[in-house]
């Protein structure tokens, strides 16, 4: 904003304006950049706000091409038919047609690929210990393990409502609360204090557990996906989490990712083996994600 432009606006009167006088002389023209190869379109607009200050508005939008709907000629013609019957003298506020406010999903009888996950989780006791969050995925409604969360349970509608919910551990091995001293209905025990919790993590920091045995992988090729990393790191031991950083704009891989292992030894072996390994014509760099205290 310059003083010059401000003076102009303060002098400006609507009444004095000529018919063909345009306001554009006061403002830089509207600028449209793109859409670029990622489909990002930038629109820069200038306007005066109520106080007479010049405001620059930059709007960045993603442009996507929708599949064009095909209507045949006769269907197009039918579009222009006049309404008849009750619809002809229908008032506009009648709202006969509404779009559902509720998102209706096609509910699958079982989530795809669940059987495999279940057997894997059950077979490896080590992975159960280390997985933490994953094993706790026990549905409180149907007591099915590792299949879905309680909120996603297909039987949820038929379940007893929550107010008569009994605070009962779903199954013996998955529950950690029942064995801990002083835990009943009355007292809340934080997860870190419960029996079976990872004491080494020294409680407090929840994030730390996520960083445990985390391996950073860099110099990945653009089209590496999490499944590829899983395939690559799986042979070294149980993997709890695989993450590949994805660029939000381009939805391409940003070239790095993280892999969390259940055990430190597996992670170390993976680093030893895969650091400098050629993958997709690129040489991987694999290292500990956080500087180790030791």
């Amino acid at each position: 904003m310059t003083i010059d432009s401000q003076q102009k606006t303060s002098k400006f009167r609507w009444g004095e304006m000529d018919e063909d006088d345009d306001l554009d002389f006061l403002l830089p023209p509207r600028q449209v950049i793109g859409p670029d190869e990622n489909g990002v379109k930038t629109v820069i607009e200038y306007k005066f706000n109520d106080e007479g200050n010049k405001v620059k508005t930059t709007t960045r939008t993603r442009v996507r091409k929708l599949a064009s709907a095909r209507l045949n000629k006769r269907a197009m013609e039918r579009r222009s038919w006049p309404k008849f019957g009750d619809a002809a003298n229908e008032d506009t506020g009648s709202r006969l047609t509404m779009v559902s406010t509720e998102e209706i999903l096609m509910e699958r009888p079982r989530a795809p690929g669940t059987k495999a996950d279940e057997s894997k989780a059950a077979g490896d006791s080590l992975s159960q210990l280390g997985k933490g969050g994953a094993v706790l995925m026990v549905c409180r409604t149907c007591h099915k393990k590792g299949d879905h969360w309680t909120s996603k349970c297909p039987y949820k509608d038929l379940a007893v409502p929550a107010d008569v919910f009994i605070d009962k551990p779903p199954t013996g091995e998955a529950s950690t609360t029942s064995t801990a001293p002083g835990t009943g209905k009355a007292a809340y025990v934080p997860p870190s204090m419960r029996a079976g919790a990872d004491r080494n993590a020294t409680g407090s920091d929840m994030r730390r557990r996520n960083d445990e045995n985390s391996v950073r992988v860099t110099n990945l090729s653009e089209d590496t996906r999490e499944a590829d990393l899983m395939e690559l790191f799986h042979p070294f031991g149980a993997v709890t989490r695989v993450y590949v950083a994805i660029d939000q704009k381009t939805s391409m891989s940003r070239g790095f990712g993280f892999v969390n292992f259940v055990s430190r030894e597996d992670a170390q072996r993976a680093i030893n083996k895969l650091n400098g390994y050629g993958y997709d014509n690129l040489i991987l760099r694999v290292e500990w994600a956080t500087p180790r205290p030791t």
Binding site: D86, T97, M98, E102, L105, M106, E107
Partner: protein, 328 residues
């Protein structure tokens, strides 16, 4: 997906039908006015006023110019689709239940219910090109062996050579349209155990599916009437539809309308259930209705379907893209 809710009827829906191009949707309900909707956005386009009773079914000609409706007021009426003008009214002595145009739209099959001392029958009417020349006479009348039982649906077979019917006696019958003789009927062990509520042809007329109150739907070969598949579901089936695009069938139903008020609506299972046509395995369910589903129809492009319920709503569902890559 976010379904489009269409509340144009005050009474339970009975039938839904798309035109061939898939841009128009006709709905019939127990109130007396069949309604025309645009199939893409669900906008109401018109109503066909003139019936004086529940409208049980309808059919639209291939060029989307004529609509035929069958009603409990003992008439079947032909309408001009564009203007809603009534062109002709066939009068029967008993309620008209099911209507179906033949291939070529020159004939229509209309079933009538048993009423007073009249027995259930299947009438074949010739449809005149010019509504002025239309006459009320039946070309052919087929009598159900058990005249006390209602015929719920009768449709034309391939090349108009046969008529396939199903009804309260749970037997599927194939009739010769030339001679009026009964050619085939389903036997007891393969056939349905209870009332056949609905019958839907495949797009190519090679096979058809029937839904029944015995909680199953069955897929049949149209020519030989051999049982191909059986889909078992937990609730009585009121409506069936077949995807013209994928190997999916949809079953709609729910507990009997009279029992709805006695239970929680969640226990009623008022959902449209999708089954794999070949593996007979359930793919998924689409919920939303507050009462049993009475009518189902697939858009001829296979990318949307609509369901009509006892609750008086038509719900128009446009599938999400992930529907098309469902793997079992």
């Amino acid at each position: 997906m976010r379904p489009i809710l269409m509340k144009g009827h005050e009474r339970p829906l009975t039938f839904l039908r798309y035109n061939r191009d898939g841009d128009l949707l006709f709905s019939c309900a127990k109130d007396h006015t069949p309604t025309l909707w645009y199939a893409d956005n669900g906008e109401r386009h018109g109503t066909y006023r003139g019936h004086n009773g529940a409208v049980w079914s309808c059919d639209v000609s291939r060029d989307s110019s004529r609509l035929i409706t069958g009603s409990a007021d003992q008439t079947a009426k032909i309408w001009e689709v564009k203007t809603g003008r009534q062109l002709f009214s066939f009068k029967f002595g008993s309620p008209a239940r099911s209507v179906d145009f033949s291939v070529g739209d020159k004939l229509a099959v209309i079933t009538t219910d048993p009423f007073m001392e009249r027995t259930s029958a299947i009438h074949v009417k010739r449809i005149a090109e010019d509504p002025e020349d239309q006459i009320d006479d039946s070309v052919l009348i087929l009598q159900n062996p058990d005249g006390k039982k209602r015929i719920n649906r009768a449709v034309w077979g391939p090349l108009n050579e046969t008529i396939v019917s199903g009804g309260e006696d749970a037997v599927i019958r194939v009739w010769d349209t030339e001679t009026g003789k009964l050619i085939k009927e389903s036997n007891e062990e393969e056939g349905h155990k209870k009332t056949i509520t609905s019958l839907c042809k495949a797009a190519d007329d090679s096979h058809f599916i029937t839904g029944s109150l015995d909680k199953t739907a069955k897929l049949w070969d149209m020519r030989t009437l051999t049982l191909i598949k059986t889909y078992t579901t937990g609730v009585p089936v009121n409506a069936v539809a077949m995807s013209p695009l994928l190997n999916h069938v949809v079953l709609g139903g729910g507990q009997d309308a009279s029992a709805v008020t006695t239970t929680d609506h969640r226990a009623g299972k008022f959902e449209a259930k999708f089954y794999d046509k070949i593996l007979q395995e359930e793919i998924g369910g689409v919920k939303g209705h507050f009462g049993p589903i009475n009518a189902l129809a697939f858009n001829p492009d296979g990318k949307s379907f609509s369901s009509g319920g006892e609750d008086g709503y038509v719900r128009l569902h446009h599938f999400d893209s992930d529907y098309f890559n469902i793997k079992i």
